[in-house]
């Protein structure tokens, strides 16, 4: 389709063209994120292709659109043929006929120094007013991040909540006997591998600063906990005690890890000071204690134990002390993840023979099943507490998935090829 730049008088014919596009073109044809489900309230938005993006390294509008759709709070209207940028003066009437609430347009321009200038403008279609302007100047390699920043800005403008699309995720793939630890954008794309090993890698966990990962690597023929600085590749074994060392979880200040060690027999929780010293034992007894997760305020430690006869989630003071049981329904509840806003706990519960993602509202104890799949694993929250990342077997494939907290909107992130597992969502970028 040959594109010409938008002028006011072209809008009527453009409107017809849009209706045609609506019929024939999937809106995410050029992007690999697949979104499924229908939300209760999804704001219809128009995201015009960015002027100049066809010759830029990234198609920004597609990235922004996929981010907003994945959030479950937006429905994008077909816009492939819209020709405008941030300085255009839009005629809102055709968009109002399509019930659009907001319109985003922008441009990407290569500067003399090789960097790119990204500009965008958001309009309130109902009021026919400009809502705000965005501007970012980035290296070519950071154009995807810039697109995610635009999505964060739009999300904040339209929902009042900060977006979290410019954050990063980690996950592990197994391909041809090789395990790779990846760092990717929040949509699973733009992945860079941080570690390659012939032995399993599990339980990667972001430091609160987003600069380090803790993980379990089996490269020494046993599970050992490492801390790995991403910018330099520098890493060290922080728990390599006799027996197994696993399940690292960062304290909110980034100075400690909680982890599961078997150095004294059995799987018990310990607090490890990253500046050195002996680990401090937090749990006692002969039963399993593992999968520690700090509450966002750092006061409590959630964990999994079979002390009651079946694996259940418990909560104890982060300094150690008596534990109280948190999950009661079912006989297998594992992998607790706490939302950064402190309201929610996501976890995996066995229902019949199926392992399904569940959500508990901590204030009420009310539980909701979020999926109807059978092999869900390892949920983690977006830093704005609005989405969950997990893995599942979805439509017959090991998949990296996101879901809204009500389970209504799910997206499969394609990520890297191979068997994909062990995702964890990182903090907001500073």
């Amino acid at each position: 389709m040959k594109l010409v730049f938008l002028r006011m008088g072209l809008l009527q014919s453009l409107f017809k063209l849009i209706l045609l596009v609506l019929v024939v073109t999937p809106t995410w044809a050029q992007f690999r994120v697949e979104v499924t489900g229908v939300g209760t309230t999804q704001l219809p938005v128009v995201i015009a292709p960015f002027k100049g993006e066809s010759t830029a390294p990234q198609r920004l509008a597609n990235i922004i659109q996929a981010d907003l759709e994945r959030s479950g709070q937006f429905k994008s209207l077909p816009s492939d043929s819209v020709l405008m940028d941030e300085i255009s003066r839009p005629d809102f009437s055709p968009w109002r006929q399509l019930s659009a609430e907001a319109l985003l347009a922008g441009s990407v321009t290569r500067l003399a120094d090789g960097r790119y200038d990204v500009r965008a403008r958001l309009w309130d279609v109902v009021k026919g007013q400009e809502k705000g302007d965005f501007r970012d100047t980035v290296a070519a390699a950071d154009l995807r991040i810039s697109a995610h920043r635009v999505a964060d800005w739009v999300f904040q403008q339209l929902t009042g909540t900060p977006g979290a699309f410019a954050s990063r995720i980690t996950y592990v793939t197994k391909t041809g006997g090789r395990y790779l630890l990846w760092i990717a954008d929040s949509d699973g794309e733009n992945a860079k591998s941080a570690l390659s090993s012939p032995e399993p890698i599990i339980s990667p966990s972001w430091s609160p600063s987003g600069t380090h990962l803790a993980y379990v690597s089996f490269e020494l023929r046993k599970p050992v906990v490492y801390v790995h600085e991403l910018a330099t590749g520098q890493r060290r074994a922080v728990a390599n005690f006799k027996g197994s060392n696993s399940a690292p979880a960062w304290s909110a200040d980034g100075n400690f890890l909680a982890a599961t060690l078997s150095r004294d027999g059995g799987s018990q929780l310990y607090k490890i000071d990253l500046s050195g010293g002996e680990p401090q034992r937090l749990t006692q007894g002969g039963s399993i204690s593992t999968e520690p997760a700090f509450s966002p305020d750092g006061s409590a430690l959630f964990f999994v134990s079979d002390r009651g006869g079946s694996p259940q989630i418990y909560r104890m003071p982060a300094r150690g002390g008596p534990a109280e049981r948190v999950t009661f329904a079912g006989t297998y509840n594992i992998s607790p993840a706490l939302s950064p806003d402190g309201r929610w706990m996501a976890y995996v519960s066995r229902v019949g023979g199926a392992f399904r993602l569940h959500m508990m509202e901590l204030a009420t104890g009310q539980v909701t099943a979020l999926t109807d799949t059978s092999a869900d694993e390892r949920p983690s929250f977006a830093p704005n507490s609005r989405l969950l990342l997990y893995t599942s077997v979805f439509q017959g494939r090991e998949s990296l998935m996101t879901t809204t907290l009500d389970g209504r909107i799910k997206a499969r992130l394609t990520g890297q090829g191979g068997d994909i597992r062990e995702p964890h969502w990182g903090p907001m970028r500073k």
């Binding site: 990846w182 591998s193 490269e219 590749g233 060290r236 390599n240 027996g243 399940a247 399993i288 694996p311």
Partner: protein, 179 residues
């Protein structure tokens, strides 16, 4: 246990096989030292990335070598579903390893617990640990020094059989005695 591990960088093989698009000059140079406790400390030198993605080239590790145990003796014992009890049929295997370890006091064995694929990775790691510790205890009761034994777990990470049939799952609920 003369546990030797090699963490040499295989630049070419890995770069060829790696889909990360790591440029050759981004690959970190590794300077590895082993402490007396066997803990590995790896110092990786790499230029910080100029762009905000901020991930240096992939750190590449290679397989650790394993030693050879008693000849002609099975090294795997199996467990029932959700069980950590060493079966009677496993006694001859465990006794053979106990004799070998008592005759070779300088040798050390890794007692590696495994589970089937059902359930979470970390919880299965803890279950595999229970199996490994049951076999370690059986060896200790036969007179093997605890200093020669290390009970560790692979959880569900290294299944012996890939299928999902009950026969496959049973093959995966096991402890391997490795040297």
């Amino acid at each position: 246990m003369t546990k030797k591990f090699f963490t040499s960088l295989l630049f070419i093989a890995l770069l060829a096989g790696c889909a990360s698009g790591v440029k050759l000059d981004d690959v970190p140079v590794e300077d590895k030292t082993a402490t007396s406790s066997g803990a590995s400390t790896q110092v990786i030198r790499a230029e910080p990335s100029a762009v905000q993605t901020g991930v240096s080239g992939a750190v590449v590790v290679e397989k650790s070598a394993s030693g050879i145990g008693p000849a002609g003796v099975a090294h795997v014992v199996y467990f029932d579903y959700d069980s950590f009890v060493v079966r009677a049929e496993a006694r001859p295997v465990i006794e053979s390893h106990a004799r070998f370890l008592q005759a070779n006091k300088q040798r050390k064995a890794n007692i590696e617990g495994h589970t089937d694929e059902r359930g979470g990775r970390e919880y299965n790691l803890a279950l595999g640990q229970k199996r490994a510790e049951a076999v370690r205890q059986a060896l200790t009761l036969l007179g093997v020094s605890d200093a020669q034994l290390e009970a560790v777990s692979y959880g569900k990470e290294k299944p012996a059989a890939q299928g999902a049939s009950e026969t496959d799952l049973a093959k995966n609920r096991r402890v391997e005695i490795r040297y």
